[in-house]
């Protein structure tokens, strides 16, 4: 059996006594697109921050390509992160840099490439996300969808093994959202890397996912292929897919209710 790209083994995380993730056990296959869905407050963002080592779990292990990141020192963590690219919700582009400088940033920090090589790599990756010739523009001149494309270009410019997407369609109109979903599908086919997407967008999820896991109340309540999730008998999953918010409480939550 092949090593999963990412494995959460009994991971729990709480803030000031409030449990955000509870005994999360999840294996994410390599070379596929896995979407973690769930309503706001389900623990999706914490899941992503744990995955890149921005947070440490209270319990459990997080394995990235077989390497336990909870045991790594700063040098090991930085070495591991060089194999991960991440598209942040609003792109997280550096405002003081041009588009070209933003995309070139990881190359300048982590490679010994010369400036002409960097320029060529930046031009190529920007063209691949549908923004050729935008190197001299500033982030403030870009639309939300364009910022996400530039963010994706920066995330993949070092050719990472794993690409993470934090709510790629949030804040976008439906047409732009569709275009970003299409871009994710195209890039996954072209790059053949592991894509992990955090989303609450149900329509987009079924468009891009090979696998889906649903987080609710800090737990994984369902996992499977898009077809399996679509036909899940689980009342929480069915309510989420029908957009019935708030979702029904989990069994444990019901018992704790007064």
């Amino acid at each position: 059996m092949s090593v999963p790209a990412v494995e959460f083994a009994h991971v729990s995380k709480a803030f000031s006594g409030r449990v955000v993730l509870q005994d999360v056990d999840l294996r994410i296959p390599a070379g596929r697109t896995t979407v973690i869905i769930g309503p706001s407050g389900a623990g999706k963002s914490v899941f992503l921050k744990l995955l890149v080592g921005l947070l440490q779990p209270d319990e459990g292990r997080i394995l990235v390509e077989g390497e336990d990141l909870t045991r790594l020192d700063e040098e090991g963590l930085y070495r591991l992160r060089r194999r991960i690219g991440m598209l942040f919700q609003d792109g997280a582009l550096f405002d003081s840099m041009t588009v070209g400088e933003n995309v070139a940033f990881p190359l300048r920090r982590h490679t010994r490439m010369r400036e002409p090589e960097i320029d060529a790599a930046v031009a190529s990756v920007l063209a691949s996300v549908g923004l050729p010739g935008t190197q001299e523009r500033m982030p403030s001149e870009l639309s939300g969808g364009m910022r996400k494309r530039v963010g994706l270009a920066r995330a993949i410019v070092l050719d990472p093994d794993i690409v993470l997407f934090d709510e790629p369609s949030s804040g976008l109109d439906p047409v732009t959202s569709d275009a970003i979903d299409q871009l994710i599908v195209e890039m996954r086919e072209r790059l053949g890397k592991t894509f992990i997407v955090i989303s609450h967008d149900i329509v987009g999820t079924f468009r891009i996912a090979d696998h889906i896991a649903m987080l609710h109340g800090g737990r994984i309540v369902a996992r499977g292929t898009p077809e399996e999730i679509r036909h899940s008998p689980d009342p929480v999953v069915r309510a989420f897919l029908r957009r019935n918010i708030p979702l029904p409480p989990l069994p444990g939550e019901r018992e704790e209710s007064p």
């Binding site: 921050k49 890149v52 921005l54 700063e74 963590l77 930085y78 070495r79 992160r81 060089r82 991960i84 991440m86 942040f88 919700q89 609003d90 997280a92 582009l93 550096f94 405002d95 940033f105 990881p106 920090r109 982590h110 920066r154």
Partner: protein, 253 residues
């Protein structure tokens, strides 16, 4: 009662957090190395941006030192001593503090707000995920940039204040220019300028680290940015005034 009791705890937590921040910053810079290009760029930008407002302030502080010194010593019939007053008050105390507070107001607030906005927009997280240490990338070049440029800014502040004080004393208050010059330079030793520069350097280090600390630990959102900037400038001013007293107390015992 509860809120009041929480104030010392919050203060201690902030002081502890600041100490940890400066330690992390030093350790990260040693591990990841200093970006000399960014440091020199910061020094240039801080110097060029601060200089006009600093010289303007210094000029008008110098004018008032002359007027106040003249008014005080005239009643004793010793108005020519105004040069000594300008030298002692201006060079030893007022000008270094002026340089520190003006760089704090101009550069410290800018650093804090920039970092707080970067934090709000997840740009600090983006640096971390790109395996770039934020302390080495953002704090160290600004800290060394300010420390590099503060000696020059302090000396220029002294020069601008003395020049304007001389102009007012000679042309407005009819003090003999030779007497004024002698009283000024007889009362400024090289050590006084050195101590003023030392104060400037210490103030610069405080400005960079305090504004960096409040910026990187700000709460997210516009309110968090505003609150962090406000706290940073207040803390810098208080710490600089206390530091000014300590250096003066040790140097002029």
């Amino acid at each position: 009662m509860t809120a009041a009791a929480g104030i010392p705890a919050r203060f201690l937590a902030t002081v502890g957090g600041y100490a940890g921040f400066t330690w992390d910053c030093a350790a990260a810079t040693l591990r990841h190395g200093l970006r000399t290009d960014a440091t020199l760029r910061e020094a240039y930008v801080i110097g060029v941006r601060s200089l006009p407002v600093l010289v303007t302030m210094a000029v008008f502080v110098g004018t008032n030192l002359s007027i106040q010194g003249h008014a005080a010593f005239r009643t004793l019939g010793a108005h020519s001593l105004v040069g000594m007053f300008v030298a002692l008050a201006g060079v030893r105390e007022v000008c270094p503090l002026l340089a520190g507070t003006m760089v704090a107001a101009k550069t410290g607030t800018e650093i804090c707000a920039q970092l707080a906005v970067m934090r709000t927009k997840e740009q600090i997280d983006a640096l971390e995920v790109m395996a770039v240490n934020p302390y080495a990338e953002l704090i160290a070049p600004r800290l060394l940039g300010i420390v590099l440029v503060m000696p020059a800014l302090t000396v220029l502040t002294l020069a601008a204040a003395i020049a304007s004080a001389t102009a007012v004393a000679v042309w407005q208050l009819d003090v003999n220019p030779g007497e004024f010059r002698d009283y000024v330079f007889d009362n400024i030793r090289l050590a006084d300028v050195g101590i003023a520069v030392l104060k400037g350097v210490l103030f610069g280090a405080v400005i960079a680290t305090v504004s960096g600390f409040f910026g990187l630990t700000s709460e997210r959102g516009p309110e968090g940015v505003g609150r962090a900037t406000n706290r940073a400038i207040v803390a810098i001013c208080v710490v600089c005034v206390m530091l000014n007293y300590l250096v003066t107390a040790v140097a002029y015992r």
